[in-house]
Symmetry: C2
Amino acid sequence: MSEATTQTVTACLLIIGDEILSGRTRDANLAYLAKWLNEEGIVLREARVIPDIEAVIVATVREVKAKFDYVFTTGGIGPTHDDITASCVAKAFDTPLAFSDEAAAELMARLAGPLNEGRRRMAMIPKGARLIKNRISGAPGFVIGNVHVMAGIPQVMQAMLETLRGALKGGRKVETAAIHVYAGESFMAPTLTQVQGRYPDVAIGSYPFAHDDKYGASLVLRSADPARLAAALGDLRSALAEAGFLPLDGEAPPHRGAN
Amino acid sequence: MSEATTQTVTACLLIIGDEILSGRTRDANLAYLAKWLNEEGIVLREARVIPDIEAVIVATVREVKAKFDYVFTTGGIGPTHDDITASCVAKAFDTPLAFSDEAAAELMARLAGPLNEGRRRMAMIPKGARLIKNRISGAPGFVIGNVHVMAGIPQVMQAMLETLRGALKGGRKVETAAIHVYAGESFMAPTLTQVQGRYPDVAIGSYPFAHDDKYGASLVLRSADPARLAAALGDLRSALAEAGFLPLDGEAPPHRGAN
């Protein structure tokens, strides 16, 4: 990150596209972006999947750009009639779309054939926006205000994030620790509640799993303060042992299960 | 569906949980729910992933229950302190939580050991809510108003949907057809724009892929009117052939790619 702050810096992801909402395509960008943002000291606080409907996209971009420090969008920046993200983001900023010579040059450096109408469409970005180039595809995304417009194809989105590394203003990175226990969640619940009460600044999550016909839970601790995280982890280990629960060493068993 | 209407019936999915927003767990429920809803004549219009923060969950449930015909939630109905969905949904409806004997009986019919505090917590549902039972886990979800509260674990959520089949009031089912073409999207764009112009009631989406070093696109048509869908499909086939593009027969190649 270029500048650190002790405040929480938040982000929202807008996944734009009927193909995700219809169940035809499964999103693969949320988890990648969440981890990438955490490396930059930014917390993904919300994600929304919205359809290819102009009024919905414009209203949603307006709402979330005011509500979160950063907004990222994926999808809808191709050359066809259903790719309306750029024009919707322009509208959300009350800015016209303008042909970008730089975007067209990026695009045509990688593509065979002419700068046809569809490709001209891909070079139309909101006036004043900066390009987000990427090494995989010639088609750039763009940044306007706090909104980062990216491709929906995972490899291209990941390459775009690569060019954004270090460019955003992050806060403290959230550190994570986990304990895995073979025991029903409901039996550990009182212990978890007690430890959570002593560490209000450490989020403790309990995620059940089933493995080899045994039930268990992964107890995941998250905090931006490494010292508090370590203290809570130690406290939780002791409290679990005292209550008769023996944490597993290492990784969690793979299957999620019941309570 | 129990009753058919020609209007579009809409739904919103709230995926509740820090584990999804942190990238630790990848959601597997959206695509399943989207397809299931379509079978019931309901369109999944939006999905939101929100954190385990009471104020956010309450405000979001209030907003979306007024905005969509149906709301579905996944996650946060277990026995531990971080499972706050039931209490948040109760707040969103200005209703108290109450212990449900029926929920407790469901739960204890499947579980070994006592009805401990965590399990009592799982039997607390908003006053007036109806249970959503399931054959996999004894832990029921519930319905209050137009909000359906379900488990986050995919197998359990799917079993809950099974018990809801036919119980919701759907509209016309959206039918889908697809054509797959090995050609850059930008070259097909003018043809797509023309056909889309002639069929405003059929949504035409273009989704690029790359396969065997060749680029192509899947052209997906969606409409609630089978006759219009068939007409648009025929028109698109002819228009593509006329413009020199030869559709592939059968399934799309598996990889998504560039424009």
